[in-house]
Point group: C2
Chain length 463, copies 2
Amino acid sequence: MDEILSYIQGNKERYFAELKELLAIPSISTNPENGPDMQRCAQWMADQMRIIGLQNVKLFPTAGHPIVYGEWLGAPGQPTVLIYGHYDVQPVEPLELWTSPPFEATVRENRLYARGSADDKGQVFIHFKGIEAFLKIKGSLPVNLKLLIEGEEEIGSTNLGAFVEEQKDLLSADLVLISDSSMFGENTPSICYGLRGLSYMQVDVVGPNKDLHSGSFGGAVHNPIQALAEIVSRLHDRNGRVTIPRFYDDVRPLTRREREAFKKLPWSDRKFAGELGVRQLYGEKGFTTLERLWARPTLECNGIWGGFTGEGAKTVLPSKASAKISMRLVPDQSSTKVARLFERHIKKLAPKSVQTKTTLLHGGEPAITPIDSPGVTAAVAALRKGFGKTPLYQREGGSIPIVVQFKEMLGIDTVLLGFGQPDENAHAPNEFFNLDHFFGGIRTIVHFFNELPGHMHGPRKKR
Amino acid sequence: MDEILSYIQGNKERYFAELKELLAIPSISTNPENGPDMQRCAQWMADQMRIIGLQNVKLFPTAGHPIVYGEWLGAPGQPTVLIYGHYDVQPVEPLELWTSPPFEATVRENRLYARGSADDKGQVFIHFKGIEAFLKIKGSLPVNLKLLIEGEEEIGSTNLGAFVEEQKDLLSADLVLISDSSMFGENTPSICYGLRGLSYMQVDVVGPNKDLHSGSFGGAVHNPIQALAEIVSRLHDRNGRVTIPRFYDDVRPLTRREREAFKKLPWSDRKFAGELGVRQLYGEKGFTTLERLWARPTLECNGIWGGFTGEGAKTVLPSKASAKISMRLVPDQSSTKVARLFERHIKKLAPKSVQTKTTLLHGGEPAITPIDSPGVTAAVAALRKGFGKTPLYQREGGSIPIVVQFKEMLGIDTVLLGFGQPDENAHAPNEFFNLDHFFGGIRTIVHFFNELPGHMHGPRKKR
C-alpha cells in the first residue's frame, strides 16, 4: 500500500489539472440549453475511465442525459463493488453571489471552489484516482469494480431506474459504494448510515383569469399570493410540526442507541446558528437539531413567485402565484403516499375563492444501511487509515433516491462514503471541496478496495 | 359647436394614425433602459402641442423624466383650466399574454389594443384633439388652458411635486382637469368624485446568511419563505379586515346618500365574479363590492418572490424572500401614517428566527371632490352632450396622487373626467381603449370647454 500512497502523493498537481478540466464543463442537467455540455461531460467521464484502465467503457443513451459505464473484473472470487456517482450539477443562480466563476475552479484557503466540486464530480474523481493508483502500481485491484455515473441525479434520476432494471446482469454486484454525501465536519471522518427521502411538489394558485389593476380591483377578489401565503403558513403548526394529516404515521422512531450516538457527535446549536447568521433556530418541538435534520421528516418551501417582482412598484393584483414545496422523508415513509397526503391537504386548505393545482415534481425514498454490514465495517477501517482518525456514525438530511432503487432492483445495500463537509454550499453559490478531504478521500478509497475482501469473506463467514 | 363636432367626425382616420405613432413609443418609466424612449415621447408631446396651436411649449427637465408644458391664454376674464396627464406607461410583462404586441396599436372589435391606450396616452390625446378642433374652427377657446403632461405617474410622480411647488405661478388655474380614470362601464358615462390613496411597501425577510441545501438544513432553520408567508397570511383576519392596529382609525364612513347612490349603479356581483373567472368573491365583511373597491381601505400583495423559481426542482432553502405589498387608502387616511403603522405591525408579526426590512416604495393620498362644484357640474353637462346619456356618480379604486398635491399646492380642486372602462386591462396584458369612448371623449371635452364659463360665472355668483 505504501507504494500506492506515494504515487497518490506524487501526482497531486496532475490531479488538480484534470479535476479543473472536469469542473469547467457546465453540466447543469435541469437547463435544456446545457444539453451539449452534458454530452461533453459524459464523454469526458468515459475518456477518463479508459485512461485509468477500466474496460468495456460505454455511453448508454437515455431519454434524457447519457449514463456512463466502465468496469474492471479481473479479480475472480473477490467481491464486486458497484460505484455510483453523477456528473450533473445544480444550477448556479444567483450568479452574483459567487466569489469566483462557478465553472472556473479556484483554490482559496485550501478549498477548491466550483459548482460540482463536492456534489458530485469531485467525489467521483476521487474514485477514478484511487483506481488509477492501484492499477498503475499493482497492475490489478483486490476487488472487481463496476462504475455507473449518471447525468440526472439533480433532476430526480428520471431515467436511471429503467436502466438499472434493464441492466440487472451488467450491474450485479455485492454492494454499492457512493461518495455523494458529507463527513460530519471538517477533518471529522464519519460514515453515513441513513438518508432522507423526498417528495418535491409544486403548488399553483389561480385567482382571477388575468392580472388586474390592484387599485381598481383590490379588496374585492381573493389575491392568489395572499391565498398561497395562507396555505403555506398553515403547513406548520406552532410547534414546528407539519400539519398534513397522517404525515408522521410511518415515521420509524429513533432508538435510544441512535439518540445517544447523535449526542456523542461534536455539536453546538449556538455555533450552528452563528454560522448560518440566525438569532434563533427553528424546528419541530421535542427534537434536537441533529434529530430534526436526520431522523425527522420536514417540509420546506424551496421557491415562491407571483405578481410583479422587478424593481420599482407595479400595482398589479396577479392572476396566479406558485410555490415549490418539498418534504424530506425518513424511514418508513413513502414518497408517493406523502405526495398524496400533501395534495389532499392542499385541497382542504384552499379557499373556494381560488383554484389550486398540485404537481409531484419528483420523489425518492428514505434509506437506512445496517451498521454491521461488511461494506460499512470495511469503510470504517478505510476511513481510519485514510484520515488517521476513528470515524463517527451519522445520518444525512439529503436524499440519494438511487440507494433505494439499488436495494429494490439489485437487492444490495449501499455504503455511503462521503467526503464533503456540511458547509460546502452544495446547491448554493460558492460550492467548495476541502482539499484535505479530497486527498484523504483518495487514500480512503484505495484502503477500502484493500480492506473489503477480508470483511466480506472474514467476519461474515464466522457468524 | 356643430362645426367643431363635424371637424372631429371628419378627422377620425388622421387621429388614429397619430395616436398609433404615440402608442408605438415604449415609454416605460420604471425601466432604466427605456430612458431614450421617455425623451422621445416627451418630445412627441411637445411637438403635438405646437401643432394643435398651444403656445409657450416647453420641456422641463427633472431629476427623472421630463415634464411637458404648453398653454393657451387667449380668453381673458374666463376660467383657466390646468389639464394634467402622463405620457409614461406600466411595464408590459408578462409579454407572452399579449394577443398583439403592446407597442403596435391594433384594433379588434372596436377596441384599440396597446400599452398606454387607456392609461394614459390615449386620454391625453383626447384633450389634444379637442383643443385642436376648437382652435382650428373657431380660432380661439372659451377658456384658458394650461397643459402639464408628466412622465413619472407610474413610478409615483417623484419629481412632479417639487415642480408644481416651484412653478405655482405658471400653473395657477381655477381647476384641474384629468382624464386618467374609467367610466362606470362600457358606454356608461359617469363622473368620478373620489380616489383612493396608496402606500406601496416592500418587505424583505432574511433567514440564514446564504442559500442552503434543503436536505442538509431543512427542518432546523426558519425558512424565510415560510416566515414571509406567515406574515402575509396574518395581514387579514377571517372577516377580510386588515389586521394592522389603528389601520381603520381615520377612515371617513360612507354617508347614507353615498351608499344609496352606489346601489343605483348597474352592478352584479355574479357578473363581476364571472368576468374575473372566480367562483367566489372575497373582501371585507359588511360591505358591498363597490364599497370595498371605492370607499374601504384594502391591502394587496402585488408581488412575492424567493428561492428557486425556474423550471424543474432545485432543493434550496433560500436566504431571503420578499414581497411587494400595497395598501389602498380612503379619506381621511394618510399614506405616511399608514406606512408607519404597517412597518410597526410587520416588526411585531416577524418571528425572532428571521430579520425583516420594510421599505416605503411610494405613497399618495386619497381624495374627494365636491359633487356640486362648478367643474363637476360642467363635466356632467358635457358628458350628457358628448355621450347622449345622463352620467352616474362614482368613485375610483385607484390612485392619482397628484390630485392631492394640486389641492395642497395650488389650492384647487380636480375634476376627474375619465374615459376608460373598468375591464380595460390597465397595468395588465392586452390594455385597450374603447373607440366609442375615444370619440365620445373628444366630443365631451369640447363641450366641457364650452360649458365651463357658464358654470363658473353663473351658479357660483348666485350663491
